[in-house]
């Protein structure tokens, strides 16, 4: 496995360490108003100003589902001006300092509103490219540089692999970058060969991918159409993660790329377990359809698939949480807070008192070291 230390450094930043504190793999920064302007070439600045952006769902100013009041933000995270996630001091106070986060990974999903979601820019790839580059330059300069506890998962124009790989190569060796940001709603399932160049570029740069819950991509938000209710969307969104996992396994993507590391972010944990058991069961009898698959489906998990905890499963019997996690794989689950969104998980409150200390330690620290390839630096 390539580790961060093997990459050429272009900036003087220490390798992230997770020793006494914790790793939080899902923090959402928002660029303050106009912050991206300076990073956008003039041509695109004017296009955005005069024509707006192009979304796959046709809804320029609306989300794909009714949004919870308050923009689905934690009500105590609004800074005096601007959006939650736009004020570095508040991120420090409410998250990094409070919970001793030593590695906080930025997932800049919808900078300044869902219209800028790179998945939504699929129909104008050059604009998606300009916007994602601007987001990356902004977050490295304004968040990671002044606050090295934060590191970036870089945004890319995911539906245009030529542009995405160029961006991965541009920033892949920057020590402020620890992952590539993928999206749960893509135009095609993630095992599709059109995305393979992205995986190759990630591996060349020693980077894993965090596939975050997203809108956009052009497909409805559920397998049978659009959700009517926030609740329907919020619970049903795991469908897309399930499809992505099935596609990645059955397409043989993991056989093709033995170093590929993928984390599903904000897709829960528990529901993946029965899905994989069922996949194993059917693969036993239907394996002649995919004879080149080298392993039993569930066996790919340990080497290739990680999940993050948030929004944590809260079974009535607290001991069941431990079982869910053990069944998925105790070495492949990481803590995520989702700050500053309303379904934020606090690391000191998510684990029931009976939760084993050793497992908690893996989720909060150890597993992040392995996923992000920090062994040599820890």
């Amino acid at each position: 496995m390539t580790t961060l230390q093997e990459r050429p450094y272009t900036v003087d930043l220490p390798v992230p360490r997770v020793t006494t504190g914790i790793a939080d793999v899902d923090i959402h920064p928002v660029p303050p108003a106009d912050a991206l302007t300076a990073y956008l070439p003039r041509r695109w600045r004017e296009i955005v100003r005069e024509y707006g952006v192009r979304t796959t769902n046709g809804l320029f100013n609306l989300g794909e589902y009714p949004q919870l009041y308050g923009g689905a933000m934690r009500a105590d995270t609004w800074p005096e001006t601007g959006f939650p996630g736009s004020d570095l001091d508040l991120i420090r106070k409410q998250l990094l300092d409070l919970y001793d986060v030593q590695l906080g990974v930025l997932q800049c999903i919808s900078p300044g509103g869902q219209a800028l979601n790179p998945a939504s820019q699929a129909l104008r790839p050059e604009l998606a490219d300009a916007l994602t580059r601007a987001v990356n330059d902004w977050q490295l300069e304004h968040l990671v540089r002044p606050e090295p506890r934060l590191r970036a998962a870089i945004s890319v124009a995911f539906e245009s692999p030529d542009l995405a790989t160029a961006e991965i190569d541009r920033l892949g060796s920057h020590p402020g970058v620890v992952a590539v940001l993928g999206l749960s709603k893509t135009r095609d399932p993630l095992g599709s060969r059109r995305y393979w160049p992205i995986y190759e570029a990630m591996i060349d740069n020693g980077l894993p991918m965090q596939v975050h819950l997203s809108q956009g991509g052009g497909n409805p938000s559920t397998g049978t159409g659009w959700a009517s209710y926030h609740t329907e969307y919020h619970v049903g969104q795991v469908q897309s993660f399930q499809s992505q996992l099935l596609s990645l396994v059955l397409s043989g993507t993991f056989d093709r790329y033995p170093e590929l590391r993928i984390m599903f972010v904000e897709g829960n944990v528990a529901h993946f377990v029965p899905l994989l058991q069922r996949l194993d069961y059917h693969w036993e009898t239907l394996r002649s359809e995919v004879p080149d698959l080298q392993r039993k489906p569930s066996e790919y998990l340990a080497d290739h698939v990680w999940v993050s905890t948030q929004p944590i499963d809260e079974p009535d019997k607290p001991a069941h949480l431990e079982e869910y996690i053990e069944e998925f794989g105790a070495d492949n689950v990481l803590f995520a807070s989702d700050y500053p969104h309303f379904d934020f998980d606090a690391p000191n409150a998510v684990f029931p008192p009976s939760f084993p200390a050793e497992l908690k330690d893996k989720i909060l620290r150890g597993n992040a070291v392995r996923f992000f390839g920090l062994e040599d630096g820890a």
Partner: protein, 168 residues
């Protein structure tokens, strides 16, 4: 029974709230159109600052689909994090009334008296009420929070009424 003066009645305007510390705990006092309620400023789910950043909402419900929807204003306090809702009068969760409950405090508005001088550093003062912990001027009415845990006893009939009806 320990009762604390937490504010002049005029300090908390209708629709406003005040967060104070009593016996080491953060407590929120709400004035809803002249009725005062006080709850512990800590969500029983995951510890969010419930009173400080929670939103006061109405509660709506219907007997069954297509029946009229009843709406009661200012009945619910919604947590700033995961949006659990609590009855602002009792602290009982609407969503999981049997298991989730915020500690509730009795609040009174009483006339202040010159003996009620309370020190800002928590010095205890004897007056018609036992007062401590909050500096107030004593001109008009004051808001008083009772931190005792004792609840008025229930009669057997009242207790029986509160039990869920037997399903048969």
């Amino acid at each position: 029974m320990t009762r604390y003066i937490v504010a002049n009645a005029t300090d908390i305007a209708p629709g406003e709230r005040k967060i104070v510390e009593l016996e080491g705990r953060s407590v929120g006092i709400f004035n809803l159109d002249g009725e005062y309620y006080a709850l512990l400023n800590r969500c029983p789910h995951a510890g969010a600052p419930l009173c400080e950043h929670g939103t006061v909402f109405g509660v709506s419900s219907a007997e069954s689909p297509d029946k009229p929807i009843d709406y009661e204003r200012q009945r619910s306090l919604r947590c700033p994090w995961h949006a659990w809702e609590f009855d602002i009068r009792t602290g009982v969760s609407f969503y999981d009334p049997r298991n989730a409950r915020v500690r509730k405090y009795e609040v009174d508005v009483v006339p202040g008296s010159p003996q009620d001088v309370a020190g800002p550093d928590g010095g205890r003062q004897e007056g018609p009420l036992v007062l401590e912990g909050y500096a107030v001027s004593v001109e008009g009415d004051v808001v008083v929070v009772d931190t005792s845990r004792r609840r008025p006893g229930r009669t057997r009939e009242q207790a029986a009424e509160r039990r869920p009806a037997a399903t048969a």
